[in-house]
Symmetry: C2
Subunit: 347 residues, 2 copies
């Protein structure tokens, strides 16, 4: 039987709770495919227990999989032992960089039955294509005279034609399959070198996609449109940091971060892609079985779609849509939501 | 008679239209103070006409004033002659840096009669204290092999203890006068050096303000709160780029960028502070007399308040509040709005 080798990094906080439901959904949705699941104990809790963040051996082992499902990593933000982004940089970003996840795909779709915080949301259905391996995330920073009144701390955003072009190409191809509108978001009037590069590459790649209408927004203006007229967007392509900011905002206007899924893609397939909800580990509600697993379950659908199992992915999506349609505001536990979705998948 | 020496940079697009109304309001509101206004022809149009962006002589002349009122600068974004942020960097940011406008003050208050795009906005009344002279705005960027497939473009964010501390002190003092809540916004889990510096300085200055409750949000999470629960904010302190993004979003949730005013402050008074609406030059509606001058008029109130004329500032604010209260959705020209506000000031 065909196999899908899945690495699961359940992680911290609500991560284990929500990935459990996502895995149930995948097992129910896959037909004639054996899901081989390997659990990796990684995250803030694992680090505090063992001192290990992510060893080269673990990285090599993760690489042997077809895809990675990640719950959430990160501990109590007030815990001084986790300061300096040690888990975020050492684990999450290390995975994204090591596995060359240069396309961070983050769709937002307002379900008809979901309430947006916007008064007049209109039809919200767009995808943010966030660059995942460059920009201000590269870790090229440092400080001098640290901790003194003369400290200077720098952070360098690194942007290459190679890195920008591949994600821009992906975005144009996606726009071709959708409604053929692409918005570049940057801050080219201030970050003139990086912004100039992004603008040039979008113009160049755009010549090969004459049917895609391209526009440009400064990142500050983009946030205004996201709350005043989100229906104007179809595909947004942007850098790592702007994409981080815009997708949290997009998740919120799309009905809440509890529904926001994402894929960290390595489109060439050289390394396994990694799928995760946009939300974090939410330590405040962890362990109580009340976290909403929907974003993790939609992330599992994304995973299947990008791993050669589009029908199984669609089954999960249909079940999620049906479940969301039926939601009446009554509280359900994490596993009740997962079970209800599994019931719809197998119905 | 006491004088207030005002430099006016009306600028481009709707800038001249809205500053005209702001100046009318100032003249009407000042009592026993002579407003000496000097107009400076600067901006994209002036640059295209003359080749001059901002000469050292003009800068020295501007410096002789008590305050600067700026409309908006920037031309057609599609005009290749204005590419590379030449006006933004060469004029607007040059002024902010040369006059050491390290506090960029951006209040958001949802007026009871104004419709927010949010379904349940709650009471929105907060101030963003945006650092104005450091961060990713410093212009420490460059590119190699520009225009080729091997281009690499870098942008460096520079943050100093000196620069962070002075704006953080200002924010704490403001929080003391307001409801004693301060939120630091950064991305310290990724930009660990800059974020670490900001966090340390906030903790240190906070020790001298034990009655101010301090919390921290990552910039991405802050955008979620701005649409889901904006009433949680009182004073936000953040870096130059995050402040740029958050204040456009804040303006939108606060009822639209047409009401958002700002002050670029040099609190020591060594250089003149500069006041401007948060909106841009809006070339699409320029010259038609339909731009909303309210943000420029509120900026004039901010100017008076910070230039030793708080009563005159309050008169403008009361008149604006009265005018906004009376708005019924019917269209008015720019000068009709200005005249109505002036009538209230002088009533
Ligand atoms: C946890 C953090 C490093 C991460 C990011 O900034 O990319 C998160 O916010 C996200 O969007 O996936
Ligand atoms: C025009 C631009 C340089 C400016 C900025 O980014 O600061 C504007 O967006 C603002 O917020 O005042």
């Amino acid at each position: 039987m065909e196999q899908l080798r899945l690495a699961v990094i359940a992680g911290d906080g609500i991560g284990p709770e929500v990935t459990l439901e996502a895995r149930k959904a995948m097992r129910a949705a896959l037909d004639g495919v054996e899901l081989v699941e390997t659990e990796y104990s990684l995250g803030a809790a694992h680090y505090l227990d063992t001192g290990e963040i992510l060893s080269d051996e673990t990285l090599a082992s993760l690489r042997q999989h077809d895809a990675i499902l990640l719950g959430a990593v990160g501990g109590d933000p007030a815990d001084a032992r986790l300061a300096g982004g040690i888990i975020e940089r050492g684990l999450l970003l290390r995975l994204r960089f090591a596995f060359d996840h240069h396309v961070n795909l983050r769709p937002t779709k307002l379900h008809p039955k979901v309430t947006s915080p916007l008064r007049e949301p209109g039809a919200i259905d767009f995808v943010v294509v966030r660059e995942g391996t460059e920009g201000p995330y590269v870790g090229n920073g440092g400080s001098l005279r640290t901790g003194t009144e003369h400290e200077i701390a720098n952070e360098t955003s690194v942007n290459t034609a190679f890195g920008v072009e591949r994600v821009v190409r992906f975005a144009f191809e996606l726009a071709e399959q959708r409604s053929k509108r692409l918005t570049l978001v940057h801050k080219k009037n201030v970050l003139v070198h990086a912004g100039g590069l992004w603008q040039r590459i979008v113009a160049e790649v755009g010549q090969q996609h004459p049917d895609v209408a391209v526009d440009y927004l400064h990142v500050d203006a983009a946030t205004i449109f996201l709350v005043e007229q989100p229906s104007r967007f179809d595909v947004i392509v942007t850098d790592n940091l702007f994409g981080d900011i815009l997708t949290d905002l997009a998740g919120a206007v799309g009905g809440g971060i509890g529904l926001a899924a994402s894929g960290n893609l390595n489109p060439s397939g050289e390394f396994p892609s990694m799928y995760e909800p946009v939300h974090g580990s939410a330590p405040d509600i962890a362990g109580r079985g009340i976290a909403d697993p929907t974003a993790a379950i939609i992330s599992a659908a994304l995973l299947l779609e990008h791993s050669g199992h589009p029908d199984a992915g669609q089954r999960i999506r249909d079940a999620v849509d049906g479940d969301v349609d039926a939601r009446d505001g009554s509280r359900r536990t994490t596993s009740q939501v997962g079970d209800a979705i599994v019931d719809r998948i197998t119905a």
